[in-house]
């Protein structure tokens, strides 16, 4: 009976699509494929504290052209907390004048490799819709089943094709309290309804005309896509309300339950090691530094995402023996050793800058994706992230700046504290150059020094450097011309414990100057930082992400050859803005034998908002223009 009903339903659907195809093509003239409808319904049931959660999804795509047949290759992602069941997928199309329906028969389970993650429990069911061509419609339905009430599926609405209409809903027994948080819904047409029966409540959102995911976001798309997160706040059991995820307190309580049994093996070796490391050190800060650098040096970061194990750090002793770990492992061994040293430190959960939410907005595991160690030192907290190899002591990792950290103080106590943004003065590159002209060749002696995140970035690049990469310095410093040869390179203070890294090198650039008549045109700026950072076209509609605040200083001294004199120096130039600015000055030395060129670039923000984008572009253009200025020298012998 069911199949007959399906058959008639299909006929009706096909007839209406044939009529609508032309209308859809004119409504979406630039699209090859369109999702006509998407429905996702969450059904939550509960019995004696055990949950059954089922998400039912149906989706209908129509192919407006035949230029993107690869879209017919689909997959359904899932992980070890979920199972995918009752998949039904088919295509309806017109072949040789006849309506045909072809069902997908093969669904393949595949493990998913995620860039940068060594092992992940992500899987997908992979399949291809048959018989797809222009005018075809594909239908997909399946059920996603899970039991753990902490991991409700998220409604994040956005794909590589537009969606005409979306219906999202959740039904739950009245003994269960369900809350929801919405983000970016103001950008779409949304209707929300609640309905309640004696036993159940349903929340339903209807969204119309969802555009495809824009390719021009600089931040993670999650900052922009319409999203609804549903969470189970509590359940009534035996007349009492049992909290699940009603607040950050509940989230912490659950996180804490996952870590309470870690490090149960004999940790004597680690304790002895810790005592050896801190022997003779008097201050807490010295002790923390010694242990922090030890972990950075000894333990290699390897990312694992393995089900619930993705939330539970491995045993500290084993991490030390294996010499590798993921973020929570590194946080754990660091925390454990600090504790052995008598330092007050705590495991700390945090979302990187890829997660835009606060714990108050979204007290669910969606809010964070990283673990670090917070150390109570000098009435303040230091946020130590041992996964960021080469990160200087006292600095948070760049990708957690400005984010809320959930610090686990005790079984019941936690704190949420915002990680500070590191000021540009702490992340500085200084390049001091002494330049000299020999005929048409520019000779240079340079000393570059790096602190903070600038040092971190440089050490990461140095680690990956190939011996054959002769243009390494030019590329990483954005300094010199392609024709510039660098040599006698000396890297100093590479050890993590040093605050400043320095690189001394010589350079030689043939045919550097331009001689016209008796004048010589010399460009004194060898660096080209930020040159390509103009934000253009569609990208201007979205905030620009900046990794860290920084300063770059270039202190250049140019020796004037005996047979030349300065005919003109460029005018001093500056661009003033509190978030991004630069200034360049030119002067003669007191003995008139050298030209002194100073340049200071400051970027004092972690993002450029859309309303400041024109200012940013003006800043970059002005900087690029300033970098091209020439000193004119006159040949005194002519």
């Amino acid at each position: 009976m069911k199949s007959i009903f399906t058959y008639f339903a299909l006929l009706i659907v096909q007839a209406s699509f044939a009529q609508d195809l032309d209308a859809l093509k004119s409504e979406y003239p630039k699209e090859d494929v369109l999702t006509l409808s998407l429905t996702r319904h969450l059904e939550i049931s509960e019995s004696r504290g055990n949950f059954k959660i089922t998400e039912k999804l149906t989706k209908k795509d129509v192919y407006l052209t035949s230029d993107r047949l690869s879209h017919a290759n689909e997959s359904i992602r899932y992980n070890s907390f979920e199972s995918i069941e009752d998949i039904n997928a088919y295509t309806t199309s017109v072949v040789n004048g006849k309506n045909t329906t072809r069902f997908v028969k093969d669904f393949e389970d595949k493990d998913v490799l995620i860039r940068g993650v060594f092992y992940d429990d992500q899987k997908k069911k992979s399949f291809s819709f048959p018989n797809v061509t222009q005018g075809s419609t594909t239908f997909l339905s399946y059920e996603r089943k899970l039991k753990d009430p902490h991991f409700l599926p998220s409604f994040i609405i956005g794909k590589s094709i537009p969606i005409k209409s979306v219906e999202l809903s959740v039904s739950f027994p009245n003994t269960v309290k369900v809350a929801y948080s919405t983000f970016n819904l103001d950008s779409v047409d949304v209707d929300f309804k609640t309905s309640k029966t004696e036993k159940n409540t349903t929340y339903k959102w209807t969204l119309k005309s969802i555009p495809k995911v824009n390719r021009n976001y600089d931040f993670n798309p999650i900052y922009y896509l319409p999203q609804i997160f549903v969470r189970i706040e509590s359940v009534i059991q035996k007349g009492k309300e049992k909290a699940i995820l009603s607040s950050p307190k509940d989230l912490y309580s659950w996180y804490n339950s996952l870590i309470k049994n870690i490090n149960q093996t004999d940790q004597t070796e680690l304790k002895t090691l810790t005592q050896n490391l801190i022997e003779g050190l008097n201050s807490d800060e010295e002790k923390v530094k010694a242990i922090y650098y030890f972990i950075q040096n000894e333990i290699n970061y390897i990312a694992f995402e393995d089900g619930l194990n993705g939330f539970i750090p491995r045993d500290a002793k084993n991490i030390y023996a294996n010499k590798y770990g993921d973020c929570k492992d590194m946080a754990n061994i660091l925390n454990e050793m600090l504790n052995y040293a008598g330092i007050r430190s705590h495991l700390t959960w945090i979302g990187t800058r890829d997660r835009p939410f606060t714990y108050g907005e979204l007290p669910t595991p969606m809010v964070d994706n990283h673990m670090i160690t917070a150390v109570a030192l000098n009435d303040d907290y230091l946020f130590l992230d041992a996964t960021a190899k080469y990160l200087g002591f006292g600095y948070p990792s760049p990708f957690i700046q400005g984010k809320e950290a959930l610090i686990g103080i005790s079984d019941t106590e936690y704190k949420i504290i915002k990680v500070p943004e590191v000021a540009p003065e702490w992340n500085v590159t200084v390049i001091e150059s002494h330049l000299e002209l020999k005929d048409k060749t520019l000779l240079g002696h340079h000393n570059a020094e790096f602190t903070g995140f600038e040092k971190l970035r440089m050490l990461h690049r140095l680690e990956r450097k190939d011996d054959e990469d002769m243009g390494f310095l030019q590329s990483v410093l954005k300094f010199g011309k392609k024709r510039t040869k660098t040599f006698d390179i000396a890297y100093r203070d590479l050890k993590l414990e040093n605050d400043t890294l320095s690189i001394e090198f010589q350079s030689e650039t043939h045919d550097y100057i331009k001689s016209i008549d008796h004048l010589i045109y010399l460009k004194p700026h060898l660096d080209f930082n930020l040159k390509s950072e103009i934000v253009k076209a569609e990208k201007k509609k979205f905030d620009k992400k900046i990794d860290h605040k920084f300063q770059k200083k270039f202190l250049t001294t140019i020796k004037i050859p005996d047979d030349l004199k300065v005919q003109s120096l460029p005018k001093d130039v500056a661009f003033k803005n509190p978030d991004f600015n630069f200034r360049v000055s030119y002067a003669m030395s007191e003995d008139n034998e050298h030209i002194l060129v100073n340049k200071l670039i400051t970027v004092n923000t972690l993002k450029v908002e859309v309303n400041k984008m024109d200012d940013w572009n003006t800043f970059i253009k002005a900087l690029n223009k300033a970098n091209k200025h020439s000193i004119i020298l006159e040949n005194t012998k002519q």
Binding site: D67, D111, R215, N322, K323, E468, K514
Partner: protein, 647 residues
Amino acid sequence: MKYFLKTLLILLVSYSASAQLYKKHDWKESQEFYELTETEKQLPSIAIKEKYLIQYYQPAIAISAAFRLFETKHSIIRVNTDKGIKTHNRVYIPMYNVKKVIDIKARVTQRDGKVKVLNKRNIKELENVENYGNFKIFAIEGVTKDSQLEFIYTLEKYIRSIGSVVVQKDYEVKEAEVILRKPRVLSYRVKEYNGFPKMVTKTVEGNKEALTTTATNIDAMTDEMSASPTANRMKMFYQVAAGGFGSTSEMWDGLETNLIDNYIKIKPKKYNSLIKDYTAFVKEKPAETQAQIINNICEYVTSNFNIIRKRDEQLSEMKYIVRTKQASESGIIKVYSCLFNHEDIDYEFVLTSDRFKHKFDRLFYSSSNLQISLFYFIEEKKYIEPDNVNTRLNFAPPEAIGNDAIFVNKGGRRFRIIESPKASNNTIERDYTISIDIDEVITKVACEQKNTGYRAKNARGAYKYLKNRDFDNFKQFTGANGIEDAEFETFEVNDEALSLGTDNIPVRMNYSYTTESLIEEINEDIMLNFGKVIGTQNELYQEAKRVNPVELNSLIRYTYKIEIIIPDGYEAKGLDAIKISKVVDIDGQPACQFISDYTLDNNILTIKVIESYDSLEMPLQYYEGYKDVVNSAYDFSKLSILLKQKV
């Protein structure tokens, strides 16, 4: 493309038994900590030894299908730096063709003699990873700087008759030993490439004879521009067969028969619904020439069939393909053959290698020879690429040109080199007009651009993909690459149809933009960096000692005409640098050149440039000349003239 390999069969009979070689091979109980030279200590890592044991084995009590194949890999690697740790501390063992994992073990030895052995429970499995299949993976435990890691794994594989070992890696290898052993009943044949030492018969562990060799001090392969470092790696290929070998020619015979029977003799009458559907699709399309018909077929297939890149037998079965409009890369070949046969088109099916990975070797049959499939049309002297979703009758793809290949039709086979289009057929031609607004300190650039050959094919493909998705990006990389502040005023694309590539009709792109970045004010004068308009250029200034000979992607010619309108009241200075002439001749023939010159006529400065690469391969001794030509193009892009205010 391994499905073409149904030609070598092992005769499954049994004779005398021999021991499994891998059982005799193990790591030393007490691991030696190898000392490195000062030079070696500077490397991120170095392999002390890498050993490859390949054994075709026959048990004592033989039954049908009794041959077994075991492969063992044993590596001892010293790790010196964090980069070295990251390169080696994660191991992925592909499970493709693996019947059984016999053993996997690993350990790390420290300088002080401490040893950490891998906990086998930490070995994880990845199943059916997209395009890669299954893996066993593990992180090596206990690796630190200045430590020595070692791993051995032995896999029993499904029996196969051909294989290869590549011993040159991205890191230096002090010693690589390869042992290939088989029972007497089997024969083998090997071929060494790129300096791999000759394999000789020796007595090996277990006191048995085997074919073996040891290569020492193998340099790390360098990734170089305009080269084929992968194809140039030191390696050996082997074949194993029972009952004596047929000649190489007989092996190609087998392939030829397979191709004719399974991929060429596809009878259209058996697939009426396909023919009917195709006929309806092309009904309104021009079909006066064979080229038009071939392109109609291409258009029909690419807009009606979804190519699914996975191993699945049914995706290469015509009935299934016709019913579902889904095909694998081999299945889609049959669809094309069927339609060509229906239209009575004369064609040859072509198989060759990707020349950047392995040079086709007609003298040694291997799977690496058979990675690219094409159709060749003798009358048109053009190809189609059946697994390319934009394919039309055109030149062979760049990775196949200049390479030997096997061409098969119903009548048999021939070997021939796939010809490369001449540079004159693969061009970018740009006519620029640059005018300067002195008051606004802005430059206006107008350009008429024509692309032919591969450059037309790429532009058409990119335009088709990006026109509705990211046209700004298309405009930027086509017309103003490297000019960050370019603001386009106009941008037109004409003759963008994919089928126009057949007659090499240029795709035309006319555009104009304004930019401030070409100009620098120097007091009352202006420095104009006109060279920048030709876009970001490759350069080879900061190169380590060249290892690989030059091998280009394609022959190509760029011609530029740049007209600069000198503003009233100004004169152009510093023109001498525009005159550049770098030419490399090999055996009296031009191999590559960069020539630029100018004329000044009243207020119009006209600069003409020709840059061309006319030889696909250049021996190492010509590298410096080639580098000069490439760098000249870069230097040109940096050229400026001074527009000096007349006094």
